[in-house]
């Protein structure tokens, strides 16, 4: 049991309380008994001394010889266990019930009475019987207290754990809710008031979070759906216009660029839908996708868009690198990697794209001969809106491409990483689980 556990603390508290209570009870019992015994003893001694003094005084009325009278009376009247000494006016011992044992070292209680004819009667008794009685009492108390304490120790832990059970149940519920990704109510009808208050407060909070999440999810989905229709018109009209053979070449090129951008926005919208939609509906739309095909298409596309850089691109591709996924999203993810590599390298610097299957993973690696990524930026390059000094100085952008790329990769069950390339520049590595037969039946 950890020292910081609440169960441990509660149990410890109960045990300390029990120990203190038992100690106080036992202490006061012993003290009271001792005091009562002492009082009775002293009262008895006083009475005895008085009575013997009265007897001596009566006898002394008849014979005025203290020594003779004292020796007679003391022998007859002294109670058992009590020592009686008779002293004369000068304090000399005249008679005693314990002859020869005058110098007793033992602790005693003593009471004396004055004789009206001069002299003293001194009565004393040993404290040992009382001490023995108290010792017996203490022993009895200890013998009862020890098992009592052990019992309290055992029961208190069980009690504390039982009292805290509603809390541990809530923790389990919260853990399951996290695992299963849905926010459901915490608590149990049998919970005590304090825990019920807590779970009610939590549930209110959860309901709010859930509502916010749903609103946001619905908004993103609605927005994406609403965006698809105007995007159809936008890219469609640009496509029509750019295919008009009567247009001057420069005008046509501008329209093609605009059309490219419109398709870029479409890609972003699809990415938003994938990233914001519930996991189930996103992966339901997954089909077998060959990353090599995507890479080759992008190579063609780049060759048309940047004819002067077409020779800088080298594609080393295995025939089939299959994954489960959404082709448009994976395509725009790879387009992002390739465009970045071209953006950050100059004409004449090579860009190498490799696709392969390695250890059950589909891998696409994009290397370039550009300046590479500063080691300090390697960790932050996938953060939204992060832009390196190099990017801010020389290139346009919002710093959203790589974060979206990473999220697309993760939504496909993989990831993207960055490192230094053997070509001298940056190396981006996209790794996804390779296609394998699954579920289906739908």
């Amino acid at each position: 049991m950890k020292p910081h556990s609440l169960v441990f603390r509660l149990a410890l508290l109960q045990q300390v309380l029990a120990a203190v209570l038992i100690a106080v009870f036992a202490g006061s019992a012993v003290w009271l008994s001792a005091r009562t015994l002492e009082r009775q003893e002293l009262r008895f001694l006083s009475a005895t001394a008085r009575k013997m003094a009265d007897n001596l005084d009566r006898d002394l009325e008849k014979h005025d010889d203290l020594k003779r009278v004292a020796l007679e009376t003391v022998g007859e009247d002294a109670p058992v266990g009590v020592r009686v000494d008779v002293l004369d006016e000068q304090g000399r011992l005249v008679a005693t019930t314990a002859p020869g044992r005058s110098a007793r070292r033992e602790e005693t209680w003593t009471r004396r009475a004055h004789l009206s004819h001069g002299g003293w009667v001194v009565v004393s008794t040993s404290t040992r019987p009382r001490r023995n009685a108290i010792s017996a009492l203490i022993l009895a108390l200890l013998l009862t207290a020890a098992p009592l304490l052990i019992a309290v120790a055992a029961i208190s832990r069980a009690l504390a754990r039982r009292a805290l059970r509603p809390l541990s149940r809530m923790a389990v519920q919260a853990e399951q809710a996290t695992l299963q990704g849905d926010l459901r109510a915490l608590g149990h009808p049998s919970d005590p008031v304090e825990v019920a208050t807590l779970s009610t407060a939590f549930n209110r909070l959860l309901a709010r979070v859930d509502k916010m999440l749903n609103t946001e999810r619905e908004f993103t989905q609605d927005a994406a759906h609403e965006l698809r229709t105007p995007l159809t018109v936008l890219s469609g009209e640009l496509e029509r216009a750019s295919s008009d053979a009567n247009l001057p070449e420069s005008r046509r090129e501008g329209l093609v660029r605009a059309w490219d951008q419109a398709r870029g926005i479409s890609g972003l919208v699809e990415a938003l839908l994938l990233l914001r939609g519930s996991d189930a509906s996103a992966t339901e739309a997954f089909v077998p996708v060959n990353l090599t095909d995507l890479l080759r298409d992008l190579g063609h596309e780049l060759g048309e868009r940047l004819p002067d850089r077409a020779h800088d691109l080298e594609i080393v591709a295995a025939d089939e690198v299959l994954v489960w996924g959404q082709a448009p999203l994976l395509s725009s993810a790879l387009r992002n990697l390739l465009s970045n590599a071209f953006k950050f390298s100059a004409a004449g610097q090579a860009v190498r794209a490799t696709s392969m299957v390695e250890n059950g993973e589909a891998v696409v690696v994009v290397d370039d001969e550009g300046p590479g990524i500063a080691p300090a930026d390697l960790d932050r390059i996938f953060d939204p809106f992060f832009r390196s000094a190099e990017a801010r100085a020389n290139h346009e952008g919002f710093g959203l491409g790589l974060p979206i790329l990473r999220r697309v990769a993760r939504a496909h069950g993989g990831d993207v990483t960055v490192s230094k390339s053997d070509l001298g520049g940056a190396r981006f590595e996209l790794r996804l689980p390779v296609w394998s037969s699954r579920r289906h039946g739908s």
């Binding site: 229709t229 159809t232 890219s235 469609g236 029509r240 339901e284 996708v289 095909d293 298409d297």
Partner: protein
């Protein structure tokens, strides 16, 4: 070629109409499901372009109604939603093809031409031959009890061939059926796709195969 376009959004409708007319097609348009159904049953069309989300109902109702009446006009569905279940729902209702917004104009034209050409010759929904089992609706191929993955392009070629099983389909037609992110496939990538598809289907003895007819095109043949 006569095409009916049922689409409620004005700009989208005008875009489709203009794009199809530029390609030499005669276009009739409808903005509502009710007018669409009326026109589709009144006149004969070579193809229907159908938006699924219409103000007065589900576009698939038009599919079901036409098919119930024995009308086999090919139907191409347009949707702003794009999950697999939506595709299956459309095919179940009798639609022939399915295009997700936003789409490329060139692809829309090619799909309509392909649909009109193979009129009444939709691929079978399920084909079982030897150890090969092809579920065209769910897009699943099993060979010898093992699931074999086909990419969207491989399915397009397979569907175009299976729709006219036993007949020769020209290389040009097959090329038109494959689209690379809105640009038509080049001839060499078609060869790559065809050879992969042949490898995945296996030999003729296992169930089905694609045979080359020199100078003419390709034939899909299946046992039994």
């Amino acid at each position: 070629m006569r095409v009916l376009v049922v689409e409620d959004s004005g700009p989208t409708r005008e875009l489709i109409v203009a794009a199809l007319e530029e390609a030499g097609m005669t276009v009739t348009m409808a903005a509502r499901l009710s007018t669409g159904i009326k026109q589709a049953t009144a006149a004969g069309f070579d193809a229907i372009v159908l938006d699924l989300m219409l103000p007065d109902g589900d576009g698939l109702d038009l599919c079901r109604q036409l098919r119930a009446e024995g009308n086999t006009t090919p139907i191409l569905c347009l949707t702003a939603r794009g999950d697999v279940s939506e595709r299956v729902r459309g095919l179940d209702a009798g639609a022939d093809d399915y295009l997700r917004k936003p789409f490329a104009i060139a692809e829309l034209r090619a799909r309509i031409r392909a649909l009109a050409r193979r009129r009444g010759q939709a691929p079978p929904t399920l084909l079982a031959a030897g150890s090969v089992r092809i579920d065209f609706a769910a897009r699943r191929l099993d060979r010898g009890g093992q699931e074999i993955p086909l990419t969207a392009r491989e399915w397009s070629v397979l569907e175009a061939l299976a729709a006219r099983a036993g007949q020769v389909v020209s290389r040009t037609e097959l090329l038109e059926s494959i689209w690379h992110d809105s640009t038509p496939a080049s001839s060499d990538s078609f060869d790559v796709i065809l050879s992969r598809l042949r490898r995945k289907l296996g030999s003729r003895e296992e169930g089905c195969a694609i045979r080359t007819v020199r100078g003419e095109g390709f034939v899909f043949e299946s046992r039994a």
